[in-house]
């Protein structure tokens, strides 16, 4: 059962990392706009620097 000496702390550290990540994401405001976050993945970062013709926006709006 000596293996528990390693395994239990390992499990706790992994869990703790997850908790820390969650608390960090909460602090940095990632849960403030759930709907926006879902839509933002549709952004194409390249287009931000190279604005497309306005026509495409009009299509997207529908």
């Amino acid at each position: 059962m000596a293996v528990l000496i390693y395994l239990v702390p390992a499990a706790l550290i992994l869990g703790g990392l997850g908790l820390a990540a969650f608390l960090w994401s909460l602090k940095s405001g990632q849960y403030d706009d759930m709907e926006g976050a879902a839509q933002r993945i549709l952004f194409d970062d390249d287009e931000m620097e190279n604005p497309p013709p306005p026509k495409r926006d009009a299509e997207k709006k529908d």
Partner: protein, 749 residues
């Protein structure tokens, strides 16, 4: 811009009316709402109601980032607000609003004072507690599974002790942190000498943890760390969802109010004009009120003549004419001509102060309501505690040792811990609130749904609630087609609501060509046709002598040369589904009453039309409250539906209340529900959903009791192992949650 206004047609009649009066009319100076950040940047929050998709989001953000000096622009799609930070030296706030208007989005500055900082931190605190509880629950459960497996095989006592100690190390801090929302609320309740659901919850959690700690120290066989941590985790989920759903509805309600944020144009002693926030107005200031805007403060007219639409304040549907010297009230709408006022606000006898006083006293009548869950707790908690005491006594009487007796008694407390009861209400609440939000109904009060399900009487206000607060031409009297065409031609040139109604009526009539058309403020329109003066306006203006009229509503007169003036009669238009809604509510067994501040003839006419037998007219705000008290004394539970400032005290005095989104700010704040759109149908839907929700809550209580009925005998008999406790709690919580979700599938028609 007009397209934006049109696409917002659902957001309420009042807003449309104001918008139609002129796109720029009443637009607020955004510089009043700018804050300074610690880095020396300027920040403003804007409400952009039309953002719905990724495309809009990007257009808004990209448009703002193109502006010089903008350092940060972030749109929030959930709250429909945009936060902008910029170098104040490089950019004026008005340019930001202008830029968004160019991009096709109407932006309104959001008053930071409305920001509910409180709700946001509460949400975050719960989420943090939820994270901690989730971490602890997962890890303690992991270890518990090992122990349960060890029960079947052979686990050394030292290994089990090791596992228990680790569980304790994880669980104790986690419970101390994540349990706080419940402990605090329980303490508050106990201090107030009342009982709520959090009292038995906290007690069970603390006892389970305390007993487990002792068991761990003496290396006994049963610890309940897993049960208490998972319990907290489930309860926090319910609590978080509840807070979030309400925060969402409240933020939508705040946006509605923000859309009407108002600034006043003050005329300085040197004649210069500048904008100030309405609350900074001081008595004695001179204020200019453009036509089509709301009057910012109680005051006295200095110059100008105009018609004032007071429907939102007094419920009166006919505009009143004011002249220099007349008193005007804050919140009324100037519909015809520019005015200059001297502010007299802050007087204790101002209308608003009176309303607020009445509201405060009405409030006290409401405080007695106890929520369903807390009522259940009042019966449940003593029952459970007596049961635990009985168990203790029983085992002691049977000759068991103190330790065994205590263990079994605490086990009773643990399995009866109202986990499912704690979830029974919030989960249903969340589902119902979300569903109503989709229908355009905002649930503002946390106990609103419960109270609405109790209602058996509905009291309606008239103007702006059953009616749209917009006049409609009902009769053109003895006027011939040529005269109607003439009247329409004159009416087309005016923005007065009666003229607009007349113009709308004759939209496809070919009008004669008139020359020299002009508006005489507070009187009517004047023009020349074939050398003859024609006038469209009020009685005096058209030379109609004091001839009594049988018509109660608003009227216009047309005078052409020396001919007899012709009368056009108007009436406030009922909402399109008013009759149908009243009929349906009556059939469902509600007693319907009409309680209006308007004149008797008008109220009687509408009551007859809508088949409302019970009506009262010319009711002042205190008389409305008196009537509600009377109904309460008869044991009725009243739902009050109203929109005017004069309804606000009544909205507070009623058991539960609803307001259309076009209502006065004070009334929206006072109401428990706000419904959007031009229909009354949401009232019926909200009542249905509220009743469905109550049914589900009761079912959930039933389900939780069934679980207890099975688990309690086991606990009393001393058979509750940690495994049984964990299974009983989790499965009852999940059953209750699934049952609540059924509300989403229920059809409404």
């Amino acid at each position: 811009m007009n397209e934006t206004a049109a696409s917002e047609a659902g957001s309420g009649q009042g807003t449309d009316r104001e918008k139609a009066a002129g796109p720029k009319a009443g637009r607020v100076d955004p510089s009043l709402f700018v804050r300074k950040t610690s880095e020396g940047l300027a920040q403003i929050d804007l409400v952009v109601q039309d953002m719905h998709c990724a495309g809009c989001l990007r257009k808004v953000e990209r448009g703002l980032n193109e502006l010089p000096g903008v350092e940060y622009a972030r749109a929030n799609l959930s709250t429909k607000r945009v936060a902008v930070r910029w170098q104040p030296a490089q950019l004026k706030p008005a340019d930001i609003v202008e830029k968004l208007a160019d991009t096709g989005f109407e932006a309104v500055p959001f008053d930071p004072k409305l920001l509910s900082a409180l709700d946001e931190t509460e949400e975050r605190r719960l989420l943090r507690a939820l994270g901690v509880a989730g971490f602890a629950a997962a890890n303690v459960m992991l270890i518990s599974v090992g122990v349960w497996a060890g029960l079947a095989s052979d686990m050394e006592l030292s290994t089990r002790a090791f596992f228990y100690w680790i569980s304790a190390l994880i669980a104790l801090p986690a419970i101390a942190y994540a349990g706080q929302p419940f402990f605090r609320s329980a303490l508050r309740a106990l201090r107030a000498r009342t009982m709520n659901m959090d009292v038995p919850i906290s007690l069970a959690v603390l006892l389970a943890t305390g007993m487990s700690l002792i068991q761990t120290i003496v290396n006994a066989s049963h610890v309940y760390f897993d049960a208490s941590v998972t319990l907290l985790f489930f309860l926090l989920i319910g609590r978080y969802l509840d807070v979030q759903a309400r925060a969402k509805a409240c933020s939508a309600a705040q946006n509605l109010l923000g859309l009407r944020a108002m600034a006043a144009t003050v005329i300085g002693p040197d004649g210069t004009q500048h904008s100030v926030p309405v609350e900074n107005l001081e008595p004695g200031m001179k204020v200019s009120v453009a036509s089509g805007t709301r009057i910012p403060a109680d005051g006295e007219v200095l110059t100008g003549r105009a018609d004032i639409d007071t429907s939102l304040v007094t419920g009166e549907s006919v505009p009143t004419a004011v002249a220099p010297g007349s008193k005007v009230f804050a919140g009324t709408l100037n519909i015809s001509a520019p005015l200059t006022l001297r502010v007299t606000k802050r007087d204790d006898d101002s209308l608003l102060a009176e309303i607020v006083r009445l509201m405060e006293s009405a409030e006290q009548g409401r405080a007695g309501y106890v929520r369903l869950a807390d009522r259940a707790a009042r019966i449940y908690a003593p029952a459970v505690h007596i049961l635990a005491a009985a168990t203790l006594a029983l085992w002691f009487a049977l000759g068991a040792g103190w330790e065994t007796a205590f263990t079994h008694a605490i086990a009773v407390l643990i399995v009866t811990c109202p986990c499912a009861l704690g979830l029974a209400v919030p989960v249903v609440q969340v589902v119902a609130t979300g569903r109503l939000l989709k229908h355009g109904v905002l649930v503002k009060a946390s106990d609103g749904l419960e109270k609405l399900a109790d209602a058996d009487t509905i009291v309606f206000d008239k103007t702006g609630t059953l009616t749209l607060g917009e006049p409609e031409l009902v009769s053109s009297g003895e006027a011939g087609p040529a005269e109607i065409a003439l009247a329409v031609a004159l009416a087309r040139q005016s923005r007065h609501p009666l003229a607009r109604a007349l113009a709308a009526h004759g939209a496809d009539i070919a009008a004669p060509a008139l020359s020299d058309i002009h508006e005489v403020p507070g009187m009517g329109m004047e023009a020349v046709l074939d050398g003859e003066t024609v006038r469209l306006g009020n009685r005096n203006f058209t030379g109609t002598a004091g001839e009594a009229s049988s018509h109660a509503g608003p009227e216009l007169w047309l005078a052409k040369g020396r001919e007899t003036p012709r009368q056009f009669r108007f009436a406030d238009r009922a909402r399109s589904d008013a009759a149908e809604t009243i009929d349906r509510l009556t059939r469902e067994g509600f007693a319907i009453e009409l309680l209006s501040g308007d004149r008797e003839e008008v109220v009687r006419e509408l009551a007859d039309k809508l088949n409302i037998a019970d009506w009262r007219a010319e009711a002042r705000p205190d008389e409305k409250i008196a009537r509600l008290e009377e109904l309460r004394a008869q044991g009725r539970k009243v739902l009050m539906v109203g929109d005017g400032l004069n309804d606000a005290p009544a909205l507070r005095a009623a058991h539960v209340s609803m307001s259309p989104s076009s209502a006065a700010d004070v009334s929206q704040t006072a109401a428990d529900f706000i419904f959007q759109g031009a229909d009354l149908k949401p009232i019926v839907e909200t009542i249905r959903i509220a009743r469905g929700a109550r049914r589900l809550v009761v079912q959930n209580f039933g389900l939780a009791l069934v679980y207890n009925a099975i688990a309690v005998p086991l606990a009393v008999a001393g058979y509750v192992t940690p495994l049984i406790a964990a299974i009983a709690m989790s499965s009852s919580s999940i059953t209750v949650t699934l049952n609540a979700v059924r509300l989403n599938w229920r059809r409404i028609d």
